[in-house]
Symmetry: C2
Subunit: 243 residues, 2 copies
């Protein structure tokens, strides 16, 4: 089932996995290792040259070992309550949709998400939050409750917009609780499987599109971003998470 391009994609993903591994971006690296290994298995299946087969098998074993070690390392650090990983979204970079940045943390254990972000106010910011909720609906998580704490913008329809979303989410058996706070400072997303994601700019890290009828207007993976730092922690044993 493998085409010539599959090998190139596999190599690209595994190279990226090794890079991310070196940068201690372990959860991201693990996703790349796993996807890269899958592709390399496809290539192996389609290869008939015995010499090549042997080489591929060796590489696959090496990468699987490293992925397994990485997984154990992440688990150990999580158990010890000290897991920390940092990713930097570069200025003008693309490929940073919410799916790419948050998707891997929404496993089947998550039932509750807390979002603290002072700027879910203007049109495009509420739409960012809609996109974040769409990610949750599409994920394999079993989220029933989303708690949003944000700043209030009086007289600009913010409450109406968020009420529309609250009502709509009921159809998906999800409760969205909105709390307004004037004293918020941190921008933080907490999942009740223990993952905590702090983003310098909150959800509003995308640049405006160059126009309305351009590539990247609809697909946020193709949208350019502002420079921002994402810190990822795991706090399973901490009391700050959960209701």
């Amino acid at each position: 089932m493998a085409t010539p391009g599959v090998e190139t994609s596999a190599i690209g993903l595994l190279k990226r996995a090794v890079e991310l591994d070196g940068e201690k971006r372990f959860t991201e690296s693990l996703v790349c290792y796993q996807e890269g290994i899958q592709l390399l298995l496809d290539v192996l299946k389609a290869t008939t040259d015995e010499e090549k087969k042997k080489r591929f098998r060796q590489r696959i074993t090496e990468y699987m070992d490293r992925a397994e070690k990485l997984k154990q390392h992440i688990e150990a650090e999580k158990e010890a309550g000290r897991y920390h990983e940092q990713m930097k979204i570069e200025n003008n970079s693309t490929g940073n949709s919410y799916e790419k940045v948050f998707g891997r943390f929404f496993d089947e254990q998550v039932t509750m998400v807390e979002v603290e972000d002072p700027y879910i106010r203007s049109n495009h910011q509420v739409l960012n939050f809609v996109r974040f909720c769409e990610l949750i609906v599409k994920s394999k998580s079993k989220v029933q409750t989303i708690c949003l704490t944000t700043g209030q913008d009086q007289g600009k329809g913010q409450e109406e917009k968020l009420s529309e979303l609250v009502k709509n989410l009921e159809k998906y058996n999800m409760t969205l609780k909105v709390t307004y706070s004037a004293s918020l400072h941190d921008r933080e997303i907490r999942l009740n499987n223990g993952w905590v994601i702090k983003i310098g700019r909150g959800l509003d890290y995308f640049k405006a599109a160059d126009g309305k009828f351009v590539i990247g207007f609809c697909d946020m993976d193709l949208r350019q971003c502002h420079e921002t730092t994402v810190d990822i922690f795991h706090k399973k044993h901490s009391k700050s998470v959960g209701v």
Copy 2:
């Protein structure tokens, strides 16, 4: 690396593959077989129970055989110039983004795409076409030329909108050629790897969202659809394709 849910997902995908197979929706079925088999391989790797391992191996072999036969059948029908598959998008169904409907046809051989659709006119229709171009940009295809033939709507800014897209696509080294025609009837997408996709409603098969701040406003996989029929042909040897 497998969690309990992976087995459920694998079974779900393979069940869907068998259903689609029975409905002669072969290219769709193949995607489901391939993804399901990959997941089942993950489950196999994580299983220690020898009895279970044996059962999984047997199932994987069976599904791989069927997928291989399907692939050969598709190839043979393509070679004979008579491949035909039909999918029906049901009224109010979701999960029919352009990626899901067209994604699998954009392989590395495609360099040119022709779209005939009389209704790329209003705002939301031009945005549909933007989404279609975003799919191309994100795919592994090497598309350099997109030819759009559509009807003309004078005085509603249609030309300006499409010009914005033409200019923007230049940044991606892609040429968009727009031709206006008053006599178009068919809605058809032709790829120069031979695939021809006819959609009853053209690209405009999504229903309007229930509001602006609702699930499915941004992510078209979550948007409800109008009922429409998609006919998929392969015409490698036909003269109607290619420039």
